[in-house]
Symmetry: C2
Subunit: 425 residues, 2 copies
């Protein structure tokens, strides 16, 4: 029986969940996977957390060297979050030949190249299933199950907080600010919700997922990002009427040899499998050139779901005779723009307020036409002296739509452009 020493950096939500799984499932893991996992050291300042979990206090300290110097520790799982000291500690571990397991998407997406270099040097492994979409086995699927495919598209709901907010706005007709407050009081959203609601968290995950999907590094600066904080509930309502659900999507596509990577709110048809993903659930939808559509669905966060992904990585790492490293070579932080496109193609939903006078639709339509943009439908609702118009636009490039809207903005019968929401099929 292979005995493998494990260390945990931190005993917060996911660290605590991982500790509990390693304790509770120790015997079944030993029986079913042939590895005897022993927690040999934990870094944690807060002894009350350790006591609440019933951890033997003699294995707790604040000194990383207690881990580095223990030759029996082969795997180190990190739960600090943020960049430092996580990054320095993990690089130290890798150089000492200890494999690492992390849920730290921000650090991983920013410093993958440094971690990978240290892992190669130390002949150690780098495991990060828990960094994306919690308990959903999306990393393993991309690395171990898609070998017979060139991936054409990856679209995910990869942030539970924003999906909770958008689902509640849709189901209960509530405004963004009210639902955010409720999510904060329930602990589903942070006091400072920026990382979630402005799409940073989704962007980190998309960088990791699309790098694996397209076998080339997709750095953060190549990703277009837009959050949900400006979403008006009225657009969710209109979308519903047109048969759409609004989701914050992380999208990676390969088109004409170029990768487009973007995070933004998007309408998906209510028949699309992603439309049914509600509340704090996450899902990733992939199209492969051979497998066609597949989707993975589950909990993207939480102590036990994310702990489940961490433990999966620990067992997976413990069973490897030799660790593999990324096969793509451009794993640097500086990647040229060549190979990426920000002029991505979408359908669009555009809502604007105009003066209810003759000629206004003609003026707007001609601005669209001048930019070779084709209108699919126009819906108008008169509200006093003004009218609200929704244009559904056929698939077109981002650059063209922005140019057209600049022209439309200065038409004197156009009061305001209120919403631009991309539509994905």
């Amino acid at each position: 029986m292979k005995k493998v020493g494990v260390a945990l950096l931190g005993l917060g939500t996911v660290g605590g969940g991982t500790y509990r799984i390693l304790k509770n499932n120790h015997d079944s893991i030993k029986k079913n996977y042939g590895v005897d996992l022993e927690i040999r050291h934990i870094l944690e300042k807060d002894m009350t957390k350790a006591r609440a979990l019933g951890v033997d206090e003699s294995i707790i300290s604040c000194d990383i060297n207690n881990i580095i110097n223990d030759a029996e520790i082969k795997i180190v799982a990190e739960f600090f979050g943020g960049i430092e000291p996580a990054k320095s500690f993990l690089i130290k571990c890798l150089l000492a030949g200890k494999s690492i397991v992390t849920a730290n998407k921000e650090m991983f997406s920013k410093y993958w190249h440094e971690l990978e270099a240290a892992a190669k040097k130390g002949k150690a492994g780098l495991y990060f299933e828990a960094s994306c979409v919690g308990g959903v086995p999306i990393i393993r699927t991309l690395t171990q199950s898609m070998q017979g495919n060139n991936i054409l598209s990856l679209m995910g709901i990869v942030n539970g907080t924003t999906n909770f907010i958008l689902s509640k706005m849709a189901d209960e007709g509530l405004a963004y600010a009210d639902v955010l407050k409720e999510a904060q009081s329930l602990g589903y959203a942070e006091a400072d919700p920026t990382a979630d609601v402005e799409g940073f968290d989704s962007m980190y995950k998309l960088s990791i997922l699309s790098s694996l999907a397209f076998h080339t590094k997709v750095p953060l600066d190549k990703i277009y990002r837009e959050g949900i904080s400006k979403i008006d509930k009225i657009d969710i309502e209109y979308g519903k009427k047109f048969g759409y659900a609004l989701k914050l999507l992380a999208i990676g596509k390969k088109q004409g040899g170029k990768i487009e990577a973007r995070v933004h709110p998007a309408f998906v048809p209510s028949s699309h499998p992603l439309a049914a993903v509600k509340g704090s659930f996450n899902a990733v939808h992939i199209i492969g050139d051979n497998v066609g559509d597949i989707m993975l669905y589950g909990r993207g966060a939480g102590d036990l779901p994310t702990g489940s992904a961490i433990v999966s990585d620990i067992v997976f790492a413990a069973r490897q005779d030799k660790h593999r490293h990324a096969t793509f070579n451009n794993l640097t932080d500086k990647v040229s723009d060549r190979g990426f496109s920000k002029d991505f193609c979408c359908e669009y939903y555009i809502r604007m307020t105009v003066k209810d006078v003759p000629g206004v639709i003609a003026a707007i339509s001609s601005a669209f036409a001048k930019n070779s943009i084709s209108i699919n439908s126009i819906q108008q609702q008169v509200q006093g002296q003004n009218a609200s118009i929704i244009f559904m636009i056929h698939k077109t490039g981002e650059r063209g739509i922005k140019k057209a809207l600049e022209a439309i903005r200065v038409i004197n019968t156009v009061e305001s452009i209120d919403a631009l929401i991309r539509v994905e099929e």
Copy 2:
């Protein structure tokens, strides 16, 4: 670069799809996964199939020894289907140290123990991702991603033909026989549809999936099986009204230390992720003690989707330094009944035709009560001199419900018991 010789047994639908993927994606597999796959031999009688695919005729024969005697062939993928000669050929290959990849669920579920023994002897690998749910990476998920969980439940729509039929009956209000005919003319159902519609295909897959989920062999004779051929469209209609969708489910659960495994039509709430799985799509929903609910969705059949799973296994096998074998030891064909339960617990939908006279509901209700069965709701519709009654029954054991129905069947005001459909939450 690792050069790996591959042989294909058969060039039918999936064999042909696999051939095309290995040809078309050869270079990207080489680049992304570091293995140079070479198709060195194909067993196929029908040269027109080979010519249509543009196969070099010099590598085609009908003699398995051409494969056995080629030391460069490390991996053999089988597409014959059925038991023989597939089984004998594969055992020969395994004993010769060649790993095998198969989509043959019937052979695999029946003779896993023989194949495993030969694989151990030959130090070869046994890969069968394509045997269950086509392109959906469910086998890899169960073996490589659930290590941090005891799986509590596995529920899948694992047969595309029956899901196509049930979806069409539901969406278009058509009768079973009419939709089956259409499915046959479209090539979605076989001329003899028994294996699909009577649940045999689902049962083979459930045996494999639940064995992996529960780390113990779940042989075919421990699985309750019931098909969809007796489903009346009226029950799909009533189910819809109660908020349910009807699916043919393959279910494995672990309750009170016992495994229950069953294939039968079941109602699931329309909000359940499986309810949205329409047409020929497949999905498997898993509940783990830590990860909670996850679901995998995709195409369960077809040349390229299933070929994608075959190629995934070929690449996976080609990259292993050492092949793993099942860690559960009871991989025999004879497994005792201990550890399995056929008295599973469900909610039930029961429709019967009764004479429209006073006292009939009282008589039926008292028969249920005598068997400690609790009624959730009763819906009655008068039709001439008779009435149609639907009982929704609270969770109870299978044995009790059958006993109650025997008693009800002989009540003289009861004309017929028309439908018994289990309900899963």
